[in-house]
Symmetry: C2
Subunit: 428 residues, 2 copies
C-alpha cells in the first residue's frame, strides 16, 4: 500500500461516516479479543478506535504498542464512550516498529523523573502532558508576536556571535571565530538599542546564552528571550507594553488551549490588571517590617523576594531600583539620581523580566561605563551610534521559558524547553 | 517639556487639523528662510513638514540634520506637494544630537559601499531603502509563520549548542562548555526529525552557524534558516508545502508592502505556480546538450547551475539527486536505489532550499552512516529515537536570507541581514 494520510484524527466528522479514510499514528493500546482486535490509535491531533476483524485480524501478528501504523478503513459510529467515531480497518501497515520495553512509558502510567524524560525527549513527546506543554508554547509564541506586531514593533534578528564582551563580560561562552576570539550573545541589548535610531520600535524572540554555573529550576545556559526596545518611550510605557503582552498571552491561551489545559491539569487564570507597581524603597520597608536586616542599596536576595512574593502573589512590577545595582545603560531618575528608571516584572518571587529607560546621551553613557569599571574603548562600535542622533528609548527582556512556567503552574524551566542546556546537560 | 509622543507621522489625518500633536523623529532636512524655518521631520512611519516661526524660530539655534527632536504643534493643511499635512511648531526640543559630518549619508544622496554601511548599520537604518528591506523582512516572517501555522505545523525551538558533531562534522564552530567540547548547530536536522515522533509536523525559524571560509554574496557564518519536518509526508508533499509557502510570501508582501517596494525600487512579481520540477538526470542531459562534460553522479558546479538557471529562470525544483551526493539521512527511491527522494529549490542558479524524504528505518540509517564513513556510535542519542516507533517523514531547510534576496532582486545576502557574520566580519 502506498501510504497517503487523508485525515488527522481530529478531522473525522459525522459527514465521513461510511467513507474510507487513511489515518497515520501510533498504537497507544491494542487488545486482542479472539476474532477481533481493538486498536487505540493516536496522532498529534487526537485519538480514535480502530476495529480489526476477520482475515485482517488473523494476520495482524504481534505489533508492539507505540509502533507507528497506517490504517485504511471506514469511519463508523461507535458505542465506545471515549471516542466520537471508530474505524473499521481494511488495511493496516506497520511503518515504524517500537521496541519493547520502552525506556519511558509515554502513556504516563509509570512516572519517570525529569532527567529520564529529557534523555528520551522524543518519546516523552508522546506523553500527552508533555505534548500539550509544547503546543501551548506554540500558541504563546503566536500571541506574543500578534501583540507586538499590533503595537507596531518590527521584528529583528540580532547576531548571536559577537566580537566583544558586551554588558560587562561575565558568564560568556567564548569560541574561536576564524582565528579571532568571539562570544555567544547574552542578550540583544546593545543591538536592539542601536536599532531604535531608524526602526524606533523593535522586538526579537530568540535564543541567548549564559555560561553561568547554576543548578536551579529557573536557570539554563541556553534560553529563549523576548526582547523589545522602543524609541520615545519611558520605562512606564514599556511596562504598559509588557503588561498587555502578558495579559494577552494569558487570555489567548486560556481561550484557545482548553484541551491542553485539561490534559496538563492546570487552568490558566487570567491575572488581574493593572499589575501592582511597587518601588524598591517600599520593598525595603516591607522587608524591615518582616524583620529582615536590609538597607537601601542592598540587592534583594532570593529569600527577600520570597517574602515580597508572599505579600504580593502573582504578577507585580518592582520599580525604581538603586542605580548602583543596575547595568551601565540604565538611566537615573531626574528627581533622585540615586534611583533608576528601571523595573523587574515579578511573578511572586520569580523574576520574569528586567527593563528600564536607557541612557541615550553618549557622554553620560561613557561616564557610567567608567563608574562601573568598564572600558569605553571596548564599546566603541556601540557608543559611536549614540553620536548619530539617538532617540530616548526604553525596553526590556523577558524569559519565555519562565513565563511558560507561570502559565502552566510548574517550577522547572526544563519542562518547557525541548532540549535544555545546563552545566550538566549538553545532550541529547 | 516632558515628552510624550502622541502620534506616529503616518497617523496624522484630516480629523487632526487644528489639533495639537506631539511628534518625535529625526530632522531629515532643515531650511532657514529668514523669519521662518522648514523642518522635514521623519519617523519610522513617514515624513512631515514642520513650520517654525516667530520667537521659536529666533531661538532655534543650530541643529544638525539627523538629530532627534520632539515637536509639539498644530496640524494644518499644507501647500507643499510632498506632504499631506504640516505642523505649526509650538515647542521643539533636541533629544539626541547628531554629529556633523556623519560617517554615511542616511539620505542616500552620497552612496556608500556595503562595508561602510554595515560598519554604521544603525545609521544606515535611516536610509529608507535599508529600512524598507527590514520592514519587508518583518512581513516575510509573518507570512511564513501564518502559512505554516495554517498547515498545522507546530513551532519548536531546538538547541543551538550541541554536544556532538551532527551531520558529519565539517564546518562547525566549537566552544568550551563547562569543561566539555560543544558545537554550534548547523541546522536543526536531527532534532526536528526526532520531534515528528510525537508532534508530527514541526517548524523552526532560527539562526544557525557554519564555519565555512566562504567569501561570496550568498554565504554567511550565521544565517537564518526556515526548517520544517513532517511525519507521513513524502518529498513531493513537502515540496508542495514549500511551494505554497514561497507563493504566500510573494503574494503577501506584494499586496502589503507597496510602499516598501516603491522605496526599494523593485516590484515583487508573484511567480507562476506550479514550479517546474526537473530531475537531476534531466539536468545532466541539458548540460550535455550545452557541451558540458558531466556524468551521472557528478555534483553540479556553480557553472552548471548557471546554465540550468538560464534555461529555467525563476523558481524550480531540482529533484531525484544521486544518493551518493546526499547526506546519510536521505532515503533512496524504491524503483532506483541509486537515486534519492530529494530536491533543491532553485531560484535560477541560486539554491534556496534542500530537502527530501528521510530514512526512518534504524538499520538502514546505521548502514548509510557506515557507507559515508560516519560512526553510528557518534549518533547514539539520535539513533535510539528510531527504535521508539519512528514515522516516515520528510522535510527541508530554506535560507531566509537567500529568499529575501530573490524577493528584492539583489545579489548580496549582507543587504538583508542586520549585522552579518562572515570570515572577515565579526563586528559591529
Amino acid at each position: 500500500m502506498v501510504f497517503v494520510k487523508t485525515h488527522d484524527i481530529s478531522e473525522l466528522t459525522s459527514e465521513l461516516i461510511g467513507k474510507q479514510v487513511v489515518l497515520g499514528g501510533w498504537i497507544e493500546d491494542l487488545r486482542k479479543l479472539g476474532k477481533m482486535s481493538f486498536i487505540t490509535l493516536r496522532d498529534v491531533s487526537g485519538i480514535s478506535q480502530v476495529i480489526v476483524k476477520g482475515e485482517l485480524n488473523d494476520n495482524l501478528g504481534e505489533i508492539n504498542r507505540q509502533s507507528v501504523v497506517s490504517v485504511k478503513g471506514i469511519v463508523q459510529e461507535t458505542k465506545a464512550r471515549d471516542f466520537a467515531f471508530e474505524i473499521k480497518a481494511e488495511e493496516i501497515e506497520v511503518l515504524g516498529k517500537a521496541i519493547h520495553p520502552l525506556p519511558v512509558d509515554p502513556i504516563g502510567r509509570v512516572e519517570s523523573n525529569i532527567d529520564t524524560r529529557l534523555n528520551h525527549r522524543a518519546l516523552d513527546m508522546r506523553n500527552q502532558k508533555t505534548a500539550s506543554i509544547f503546543k501551548l508554547r506554540h500558541y504563546v509564541l503566536q500571541s506574543l508576536r500578534k501583540t507586538l506586531v499590533g503595537k507596531k514593533f518590527i521584528e529583528i534578528t540580532t547576531p548571536k556571535i559577537i566580537g566583544s564582551a558586551s554588558e560587562g563580560g561575565a558568564n560568556l561562552f567564548s569560541l574561536e571565530y576564524f582565528g579571532k576570539k568571539a562570544y555567544l550573545a547574552q542578550s540583544p541589548q546593545l543591538y536592539k538599542e542601536q536599532m531604535t535610531i531608524g526602526l524606533e520600535r523593535v522586538f526579537e524572540i530568540s535564543n541567548f546564552y549564559r555560561a553561568e554555573n547554576s543548578h536551579t529550576g529557573r536557570h539554563l545556559s541556553e534560553f529563549t528571550s523576548i526582547d523589545i526596545e522602543a524609541a520615545f518611550m519611558d520605562y512606564n510605557d514599556v511596562m504598559d507594553v509588557l503588561e498587555s503582552l502578558v495579559m494577552d498571552v494569558y487570555k489567548f491561551t486560556s481561550e484557545n488551549c482548553k484541551k491542553e489545559q485539561e490534559i496538563i491539569g492546570h487552568t490558566i487564570e487570567v491575572p488581574k490588571s493593572p499589575f501592582e507597581r511597587i518601588t524598591y524603597n517600599q520593598c525595603i520597608e516591607e522587608l524591615k517590617s518582616a524583620g529582615e536586616k536590609v538597607e537601601f542599596g542592598d540587592d534583594l536576595l532570593d529569600s527577600h523576594l520570597r517574602i515580597i512574593g508572599n505579600n504580593h502573589p502573582g504578577f507585580f512590577f518592582l520599580t525604581d531600583w538603586p542605580m548602583k545595582l543596575k547595568p551601565f545603560y540604565i538611566r537615573e531618575k531626574d528627581e533622585d539620581p540615586e534611583l533608576s528608571r528601571s523595573f523587574d516584572l515579578q511573578y511572586g518571587y520569580l523574576e520574569l523580566s528586567s527593563g528600564g529607560t536607557r541612557l541615550h546621551n553618549p557622554e553620560r553613557l561613557k561616564n557610567r561605563l567608567r563608574e562601573q569599571d568598564l572600558d569605553p574603548a571596548q564599546f566603541t562600535d556601540h557608543l559611536k551610534a549614540f553620536d548619530w542622533g539617538m532617540p530616548p528609548h526604553s525596553g526590556w527582556g523577558m524569559g519565555l521559558d519562565r513565563l511558560m512556567t507561570t502559565l502552566i503552574g510548574i517550577d522547572n524551566v526544563r519542562e518547557v524547553v525541548l532540549y535544555p542546556r545546563d552545566p550538566d546537560r549538553l545532550s541529547p
